[in-house]
Amino acid sequence: MKPRSRRDTWRLLVLIAPSLFWLLIFFLVPLVMVLVISFGQRGTYGGIVWDFTLSNYARFFDPLYLRIFGRTAGIALATTVICLVGGYPMAYFIATRPPRWRNTLLLLLMIPFWTNFLIRTYAWLLILRDQGLVNMVWTGAVHNLFLHLATAYPAATLFSSLAGLTSVPLELFGTNGAIIVGLVYAWLPDMVLPCYAAIERLDFSLVEAAQDLYANRVKSFLRVVLPLTMPGLVAGSVLVFIPALGAYVTPDLLGGAKSIMIGNVIYSQFMSARDYPFGSAISFVLMAIMLIATLIYFRLGSD
């Protein structure tokens, strides 16, 4: 409703004033600062030279940074797709359980999600390292098995070559794959929950009707279930894509600092190269992409 009286107006003011101030000063002002600085230049010793230039944005289109950005987008996209392919059926599974089961399953989904993010990443470090769990099994039990088989059946060269293969650890740590696993693990619940909310709201009598009409499960899924749950699916994708695109801890820890993403470039512009203007420019580009992604989400969501 519109504020009807002076009193109402005052009440409205009192209610929004604290948040308004906080967001103006500690969010909007910093945001504008970043924008302004992104047009400045780095001084020799890392200060900011106030010289209007677009060179920081031009630098973003340098092949080096485009390459890093391309890799980042690829990793974020792969993460989103894997979360989608894994998370949607999972959400469907939860939503089709009896109600009392549903709550327990949701609870179970959220417990790992609420542990510290760094600890969740660290857990994968324990699993993927060269001396980690996977490789302990690979160079231990699996290797021994093939050694046994190779001595038992010397004729089968397959076993001895497999034994050779398993004698060295798999290259898991420090790869893009490791980063993707870490990101999927961190953000999977973000995909499942919105999908679950959408599927749970679905009127299954519509699905039955569709099945009677099309008499084809795939068709009824594609024409009825999928479009009706699209908002949840899109919301989940945006919720996974955004943090994956801005990730910087995961590539640092699971990527062995060998595979850098755009978040690491921003970090190093501020924490080692001390090139605030360029770091600001990249941040702004990244934010613009997020905004576009979110607008797409609202567009699709409102349809």
Binding site: L12, W22, L23, F26, F27, L107, P112, P243, L245, M287
Partner: protein
Amino acid sequence: MKRERQLKGRRGRWLRHILTAHGLVSYIFLYFPIVVLVVFSFNASRYASAWRGFTLEWYVSLLQDAAIGAALKNSLIVAGGSTVISTVFGTMVALAMERYDFSGKLAFDSLLYLPIIIPDIVMAVMLLIFFVLAHAQLGLVTIIISHVAFNISFVAVVVRARLAYFDLSLEEAAQDLYANEWQTFARVTLPLIMPGILGGALLAFTLSIDDFVITFFTSGPGSSTLPLRIYSMVKLGVTPEINALSSFMLIVSMLLVLLSFVLRKGGEGEIEIV
């Protein structure tokens, strides 16, 4: 039940089995790393990959680690402080946004949503620049300010979800019974939206205590929080002490999840997880 019937027939049964198997595998994927963490927190080996016998050594050294204690204290101060401020402000703004129309509402609404969708690293960078140019001394205060800056938005979203289900006639009824505005708010409105407020507070607390990136950029001398401490421990090398810490935190987070579930059951308002 319709839901049970919809996958009928032979092929339906197969699909159902696949779905169940997929669900099972997904949960194993979610819990496997956690089980590994907990199991290896009892491992006598320093390098944590091979099993060398049972020990409680890591829990003992964890309890004696003064740096962890200090970091935990900082974390609680930051999370507590930012939760209280952002819950009060966020609830107020949620009330305003749900109840009033005013010019500039759309712009303010967008401003309110922005901290949710902006990537952590960008927000961290923004705040760092701001504090540098304002010549503020980095420390617990700057961390709390930063956390409130993103938490207001999360609290507002959660409380607004709850307010959307609010029946205004209840307030009118109270006022018909000669309750003044303040009494109406304290006795009717507040209790009814309380689950939403608590849910928002809980979310704010979790986000705050979990935050690494923004805290890292806005922290100063002696203000390391638990995530910062964990990060430097992880960087310094794998040690079962981190596993022991993880087990502790797992128990705490389980309690928090349970608590949030109880709170959410109090109201049927659907909270989207952000």
